[in-house]
């Protein structure tokens, strides 16, 4: 064999070096350290972000305390800052987004997971994932020129003539409104609801479906009574993820919500969201107190979205664990 000579030559005694020096010399510890430093940067940036938001809002926190959250007047000139109108606008638009988006999204996910052949389902899911990539400002651009007039000219008159007795649907409709903000958000969160719900539905074991079908249930009954309940936590998780998106979404909402810091019961009335207020006022803010108030708004938004995201993750984790899928 050609190799035998070199084998003998190399079979000598192993090098003996002190372990620590050797490991350093070989670079493993160094590589570990370098990547750790960069990974630690992520932690430092996040901590710094929290710190900057917290200290940036010091002025208003000292002056208003908790009443910042419950105050209803936002008047930068009189240095009167109450965040409730923005919190209200954010919550109402996000709630509308879920009311419109969840049935559509879950319905589409059911179709894609249960009825469509896998090839078609993958193709359509691909298109829906592309929707998630469309920049928010483009949604806003389209909403200004198509959704807003459509809501004003068709949807509002229709709702007022049928459900007009409800305070929700009363008053003049200008187009730019809480409803417009909620509608564009609904469209924007659809891809998140659909993609994740589809995945958790597809992860439901086939035996579950077969057992139900074997008992004589129709395909819809199987889907609705067996598959959807099995995937429930995951679907709810996707809804929370969508909610977190909707709460923090800025541009599209800013462009159609009307930007009026008052609390109106009617969804046809203009409103204002936390993110929109920051977007519109920050660069023109007058004085430290105004900036501080806007940063505190940001801090409130940060806390809300973090909490909602955490719940979403927990829910998605529990279903994927249960069904053994990743």
């Amino acid at each position: 064999m050609p190799l035998s000579s070199t084998v003998a030559a190399n079979a000598g005694a192993p090098r003996r070096v002190r372990p620590l020096a050797r490991r350093l010399q070989r670079g493993d510890q160094i590589a570990h350290l370098i990547t750790l430093i960069f990974a630690a940067t992520i932690f430092i940036v996040t901590a710094l972000l929290f710190y900057e938001l917290y200290t940036g809002a010091l002025l208003t926190r000292q002056k208003f305390g908790w009443s910042f959250l419950s105050g209803t007047t936002w008047d930068p000139v009189a240095l009167e800052f109450g965040a409730l109108p923005f919190i209200y606008g954010t919550l109402v638009t996000s709630a509308l987004a879920l009311i419109i988006g969840v049935p559509l999204g879950v319905g589409a996910a059911i179709f894609l997971a249960e009825l469509a052949p896998l090839g078609v389902s993958d193709g359509l899911a691909f298109i829906i994932e592309l929707l998630a990539a469309v920049p928010s400002v483009i949604y806003g651009l389209l909403a200004i020129f198509t959704l807003v007039p459509f809501l004003r000219d068709y949807v509002a008159p229709l709702l007022q003539s049928t459900l007009g007795f409800l305070p929700l649907f009363q008053g003049q409709s200008y187009g730019v409104s809480l409803l417009a903000g909620g509608s564009i958000l609904a469209i924007m969160v659809l891809p998140f609801i659909i993609s994740i719900s589809r995945e958790v539905l597809l992860a439901v074991p086939r035996e579950q479906r077969e057992a139900s079908l074997a008992l004589g249930a129709t395909q819809w009954e199987t889907t609705w009574n067996v598959v959807v309940p099995y995937a429930k936590a995951g679907i709810i998780g996707s809804i929370f993820l969508a909610l977190a998106r909707a709460l923090g979404e800025t541009m599209a909402v800013t462009m159609v919500i009307g930007n009026d810091p008052r609390i109106n019961l009617s969804v046809f009335a203009p409103g204002y969201s936390i993110a929109a207020a920051i977007a519109n006022e920050f660069s023109e803010a007058t004085g430290d107190m105004h900036i501080s108030a806007l940063i505190e708004l940001g801090f409130v938004l940060f806390c809300i979205t973090i909490a909602v995201n955490a719940v979403a993750r927990l829910l998605i984790l529990t279903t994927t664990r249960k069904s053994g899928a990743t």
Partner: protein, 250 residues
């Protein structure tokens, strides 16, 4: 004796995988390890070049000596050990690079040769030793992924040979291959034993009988019997071994 194993106990966390295993492995011979799956034969194999170190919570008690030197001692250089004790895996695992770069990988990592010509020479020599040269000499710089399964496994053997190991550990090297490729691998193992000490794990008893000089039978983490292959397959000393090789056993 090339390798000397004394009273090895092995644990994955709290779970014990090997109980009091002692044996000696002969130089320039093929030693086969057989036994039902989960019996500890792969764990044993991987403890011979400390591949088990990579598993969190894994722990070994006892002594494994290579040429009389304890490989688990603090002075042992694991990197150097793994160069001396090469390993072939159950599923061929060529790196996603060219055939040439696969073989040259260990040479470069261990700085065995620096000049291009020297590397070329080693690549050719080892591919010949792995009986692969004729099949790949025209496509050395194409991706190793384009080779067939059997060729990939022989490439992995060539890759291991290129760093001039003294021992070759093989973990079911032919279990994912078709019969023709398997025959080629077996022939290769037979030829390689003139220069190397080979330890091969297999669940195929005919294979063990064909290629090995000595055979160890593992059951439930214990080395039940270790003897010349001829003796094991004709006159096993232990009842369990007999049950296993005659197929009376799971």
């Amino acid at each position: 004796m090339k390798i000397n194993v004394g009273r090895v106990n092995f644990y994955y966390g709290k779970q014990q995988a090997l109980y009091d295993v002692s044996t000696r492995i002969r130089q320039q011979a093929v030693t086969a390890l057989i036994g039902p799956s989960g019996c500890g034969k792969s764990t044993f194999l991987r403890s011979l070049n400390r591949m088990n170190d990579l598993i969190p919570g894994a722990r070994l008690e006892g002594k494994v000596e290579l040429d009389g030197e304890d490989i688990y001692s603090d002075e042992m250089d694991v990197i150097h050990l793994r160069r001396r004790v090469g390993m072939i895996f159950q599923r061929s695992n060529p790196f996603p690079m060219s055939v040439y770069d696969n073989v040259a990988y260990g040479v470069r990592v261990n700085k065995l040769a620096r000049k291009r010509l020297e590397v070329d020479e080693i690549v050719e020599k080892t591919l010949r030793a792995a009986a692969l040269w004729e099949e790949v000499k025209d496509r050395l710089h194409r991706s190793a992924m384009s080779l067939s399964g059997g060729q990939q496994q022989r490439l992995c053997i060539a890759r291991a040979l290129a760093v001039e190991p003294e021992v070759l550990l093989m973990d079911e090297p032919a279990s994912a291959l078709d019969p023709i490729s398997t025959a080629k691998i077996e022939e290769l193992i037979y030829n390689l034993k003139q220069s190397y000490t080979i330890v091969v794990v297999t669940h195929n008893m005919q294979q063990a009988a064909r290629i090995s000089d000595e055979t160890g039978f593992f059951l439930n983490g214990r080395l039940v019997e270790f003897n010349e292959t001829k003796r094991i397959f004709t006159a096993p000393a232990v009842r369990e071994t007999e049950d296993y090789i005659t197929g009376r056993f799971g």
